[in-house]
């Protein structure tokens, strides 16, 4: 797909890939055939979060087809940008970013250079996101960056409270909206984002830091095994038709 200055490919699993493609289409960007064996991309966006081995495999495969100037924007929800860059032949091309689904709802995208990233690639990434209508905030590299990390912990706490029987899911969501002005209740919000991506952040933080503070609530872990990913699979904290 073509933005004003870049030829872009979107790859990877997770809710984000489809919604990025959809938004680029909607905003009138020309879409190129993703299956074409065509390697002249300026930017590759990669969005796998839940399965880090899969993410690594995918990136290693993709990189083989790319000229070394191509910038890779990879989500750092479950892993740092720096670790992701370490898998590459050309680690300096990698820029981490974080956003949660739904993509069209976020006005702002967080970018994080890996330790290995070359400065000009951060600039390129910034320019790209600004061209597709997003504000950009550059922060330091860390699992989940800022918003996904904070929201995932709120959701984790809501899941602990739910399984401890503190209140019903509906009442927990209602309380957070009416008692402290949250734009959405945390459990319904998790269903919208995708439990897989929320879990990716928690598991990634837990693995990275070893701190008990990030231990995923057992119920969230079970939901991932059961593929209760939320709205997109028909079942999460709530049921959907």
């Amino acid at each position: 797909m073509k933005t004003k200055s870049f030829t872009v490919k979107v790859a990877g699993e997770g809710s984000l890939a489809d919604s990025i493609i959809a938004q680029l289409r909607e905003t009138g960007h020309q879409l190129e055939d993703q299956s074409a064996v065509h390697s002249n991309f300026d930017i590759v966006i990669e969005t796998t979060n839940l399965d880090i081995d899969q993410k690594k495999k995918l990136l290693v495969e993709i990189e083989k087809t790319l000229p070394k100037e191509t910038v890779i924007l990879s989500t750092c929800l479950g892993v740092t940008a720096t670790e992701t860059a370490s898998w590459l032949q050309h680690p300096e091309r990698l820029v981490g970013f974080a956003a949660f689904f739904p993509w069209e709802d976020c006005e702002l995208v967080e970018l994080a250079p890996a330790l290995q990233t070359e400065k000009e690639n951060v600039e390129k990434a910034k320019q790209f996101f600004e061209e597709v209508g997003k504000e950009v905030e550059v922060v330091e590299d860390g699992v989940g960056l800022v918003f996904p990390r904070i929201l995932s912990l709120i959701i984790n706490e809501a899941a602990f409270a739910l399984t401890e029987g503190v209140a019903s899911a509906e009442d927990i969501d209602k309380a957070m909206m009416k008692g402290t002005n949250y734009p959405m209740g945390p459990l319904r919000w998790a269903d919208h984002i995708g439990i897989d991506d929320v879990y990716a952040v928690l598991a990634g933080m837990f693995k990275e830091t070893g701190e008990d503070r990030y231990r995923p609530a057992p119920f969230i872990k079970k939901m991932v095994y059961a593929k209760w990913f939320g709205k997109k699979t028909g079942r999460g904290f709530y049921q959907y038709d």
Partner: protein, 285 residues
């Protein structure tokens, strides 16, 4: 029996807000405090706030007159015996609360429901000084009471279903939204909101992003109305820190709630937020 008369014990920030909301929705209120000067001051505050609604055309003069005529101020706790429901909103000191509940349990007939607006104590502990505990529950309003639509109804270990049912009806008749929750630290909101502040502080402490950046990100990527640092400035950083400390201690040191030293430094420095003219941001007072 439906609730018609409400006793409010403690006429401070929360008590006066609760009393105002009750009379606005047709309840008779006995407003109690330690002495007449305090309780009269609270009454004057309530009249001022209601009068502002009249001036803005949001309330009829007659409604105003009716509302204030429903308030009776008092300094004698035994008058609470005339109430169907008592809401305690005295300072967050466990001994004061226990003393009051012991006295209320003696004064009030069996059918009077006794509730506490405590943010951090166990309702079960407060109820332990009463004979059965069945008529005791938490009724946790949010500040400012006339504006915030949520009330957490907290079920102590011995609270009866009947008590909870009547409280839910009462909250609905104030045109507020009741949620029922178990007697657990921080109840719902103060517990689940902890990471919003705590993790933001940890991220700032790790120098991954600056407070201003975190606020911007949470508003623009997350659609929160205010960022975690702005909101601490508004609430009072000391108030927020003490809520975190209480929840942390009530969970016996659970790591998820561990307070951050950065926030403690703010408290120690006196940069408490808007009320101090400076917090994470400067304010012109």
């Amino acid at each position: 029996m439906t609730i018609q008369t409400v006793g409010v014990v403690g006429s401070g920030t929360m008590g006066s807000g609760i009393a105002q909301t009750c009379v606005q929705h047709g309840f008779r209120v006995f407003l109690y405090d330690l002495n007449d000067a305090i309780v009269q001051k609270a009454f004057t505050q309530i009249k001022k706030r209601l009068n502002r609604l009249v001036e803005k055309g949001k309330m009829e003069e007659q409604t105003f007159q009716d509302s204030i005529s429903r308030i009776e101020t008092c300094t004698d706790l035994s008058l609470m015996k005339a109430c169907d429901l008592v809401i305690e909103a005295v300072p967050e000191k466990i001994n004061i609360k226990k003393e009051i509940f012991q006295a209320l349990d003696e004064h009030c007939p069996e059918q009077t429901i006794l509730t506490t607006n405590t943010s951090s104590f166990s309702v079960t502990e407060i109820a332990s000084v009463t004979k059965t505990g069945e008529r005791v529950a938490g009724l946790h309003f949010f500040n400012p009471v006339p504006l915030m639509p949520l009330v957490e109804i907290v079920r102590g270990v011995k609270t009866s279903e009947d008590t909870l049912k009547k409280l839910a009806q009462f909250v609905s008749s104030l045109h507020k939204d009741p949620v029922v929750c178990e007697d657990t630290p921080g109840f719902i909101v103060n517990r689940i909101a902890r990471p919003f502040y705590n993790e933001a502080l940890k991220i700032a402490g790790e120098r991954l992003a600056k407070p201003e950046q975190i606020d911007r990100i949470m508003k623009k990527a997350g659609r929160f109305k205010m960022g975690p640092f702005e909101l601490q400035d508004l609430i009072g950083i000391d108030v927020n820190f003490s809520t975190t400390e209480t929840v942390y201690n009530s969970f016996f040191g659970e790591e998820r709630f561990r307070p951050h030293y950065l926030q403690q430094r703010m408290v120690q420095s006196g940069k408490l937020g808007r009320k101090a003219g400076e917090g994470y941001y400067p304010y012109e007072n």
